[in-house]
């Protein structure tokens, strides 16, 4: 791929511009669907964009005794990490930057926002923020292990660590959602926990510790942090769509290449929206559980189910190699 096209790929289409637009759109869909489930009307289409621009226009307050530079840099770090993760996720056919092992890179980059949230919470010298930060990291340990184990499944079955080649493997035979249903369910739960959405929004528990690590963020820092959460929603659902629902590739090749890519892109949109609908329904159907209950639930059920899933994949893989 010549550098000009690659630059276009990275910056415009399935790159950052599209990612930002799609992140705002997914936030809108999420809020609209949630509102409709609560018999409410819900926000207008451009609401996330308006929130973002308004927050950019707000005054930035750094509490006394807080190191302004780190406090300002943290959201930028989180946003950069999550946006680069998107480049390795296939949007229209395999991603040109794919290399063996980009699945691990994407997973690592997706974990950074939680660490940054903890840092912001700890830095902002506010009791609520510190407590929120500690809860964020505690929650990280609980759901991270099953989430990674379960995403190993497709890599093991497809025999490669690159998301794009996993998608190619799926194109030729069954999707992993059918092959590893347990893995698919745990991946969804893990994503819901990673994005700190309602059953797992313990760090940002609005009614207990004001806004958790977000309490002291104002102005453009808050804007960037909210954008990070939206972008990680896009990247997370795109990753699960790729690994479990076959991503943007069609099983049978379509003759004109661009037409195939267009249909693939539509498939990608449909799958990510489908995953988002599932996540919104979960968000609306449950209340927030306590951190110790999450601990019990996480280690007893999630981790063991994930291990069973990986064992099953290994056993099946062992027999199938002739």
């Amino acid at each position: 791929m010549d550098p000009a096209l690659l630059l276009l790929y990275m910056l415009v289409f399935p790159g950052f511009l599209f990612l930002l637009g799609y992140a705002f759109f997914l936030q809108f869909v999420d809020r609209k669907v949630s509102a409709r489930m609560q018999a409410r009307v819900g926000p207008p289409l451009l609401q996330p964009f308006a929130d973002f621009v308004k927050l950019l226009g707000k005054e930035v307050i750094t509490p006394r005794g807080v190191d302004g530079k780190t406090f300002g840099a943290a959201p930028l770090l989180a946003l950069a990490a999550v946006m680069t993760a998107f480049l390795y996720v296939p949007v229209i056919g395999g991603s040109p930057l794919a290399f063996e092992g980009d699945l691990i890179l994407v997973l690592y980059l997706l974990t950074l926002p939680t660490i940054v949230l903890f840092l912001v919470g700890w830095l902002s010298r506010n009791v609520f923020a510190a407590l929120g930060g500690v809860r964020a990291v505690t929650q990280l340990f609980i759901y991270e292990v099953p989430f990674y184990l379960v995403l190993l499944g497709p890599a093991l079955a497809a025999g490669s660590w690159s998301v794009s080649s996993i998608v190619e493997w799926e194109a030729s035979n069954l999707w992993f959602a059918a092959l590893q249903p347990l893995g698919f369910v745990i991946a969804l739960i893990g994503l819901q926990a990673k994005l700190e959405r309602t059953p797992f929004d313990i760090p940002e528990a609005e009614t207990e510790i004001v806004a958790g690590p977000w309490t002291e963020l104002t102005g453009r820092r808050l804007a960037l942090m909210r954008l990070t959460m939206d972008v990680s929603l896009v990247v997370g659902s795109a990753l699960i769509a790729a690994l479990f629902l076959g991503g943007p590739l069609l099983p049978w090749p379509v003759e004109p290449a661009w037409f195939g890519a267009a249909i693939g892109f539509l498939l990608f949109l449909a799958k990510t929206l489908g995953i988002l609908l599932v996540l919104s329904t979960i968000k609306m159907a449950m209340g927030r559980i306590r951190i110790d209950q999450l601990n019990a639930f996480g280690w007893k059920y999630l981790a063991s189910a994930a291990m069973i899933q990986v064992l099953a994949v290994l056993l099946l893989k062992g027999w199938s190699i002739p």
Binding site: V41, G42, V53, A211, T218, L222
Partner: protein, 171 residues
């Protein structure tokens, strides 16, 4: 006004975030303010979100007369909010202490403690009156909103009853 200025004004009108502060009210105004979030009145269709932390909010809705004990806390919450911020005093109590005027533990009206931008009458005002108040507060903010990010000192559209020179909040 430049394109960026128009864009920021548009964004400010489209997503005003509120936080409700109960400064000693009989909480009739509070349950009516919370009723605006619920399906029948639903302020999220105007992009209005109710935020917990004053740091995230643009509009501070104060319900009730300011009791002496709550005055300092109210001042504190007001100082924490980032510019450009607006204050709405709700109900008859916010305007003049209402039925509690003159009681020994009540500071008569809100604007002795914080400069107020808009008063919503009624005891308690109906949820649709509250929404109308917030929308009017936005309209008056459009005429005088400062350039993006610059926090203006004396740019209040409605001068408070007692012309107090409002110092910028110390960072």
């Amino acid at each position: 006004m430049s394109l960026s200025q128009r864009l920021v004004n548009w964004a400010r009108l489209k997503s005003p975030w509120i936080t409700i502060f109960n400064s000693g009210a009989c909480n009739a105004c509070d349950i009516e303010a919370i009723a605006t979030l619920t399906p029948r009145f639903d302020i999220e269709r105007f992009g209005i979100l109710s935020k917990g932390s004053p740091r995230h909010a643009d509009i501070l809705i104060i319900t009730g007369p300011v009791t002496r004990k709550q005055a300092l806390r109210l001042r504190n919450v007001y100082e924490q909010m980032p510019e450009p911020k607006y204050v709405i005093a709700m109900g008859a109590c916010g305007a003049s202490g209402g039925v509690f005027k003159g009681l020994y533990h009540v500071v008569d009206s809100v604007d002795e403690v914080v400069p107020v931008d808009l008063y919503i009458g009624g005891c308690p005002p109906r949820p649709d009156e509250i929404i109308d108040g917030v929308v009017k507060c936005l309209r008056c903010s459009r005429r005088t909103s400062p350039a993006a990010g610059r926090s203006g000192g004396g740019r209040r559209s409605v001068p408070p009853r007692r012309p107090s020179q409002r110092r910028r909040p110390q960072r």
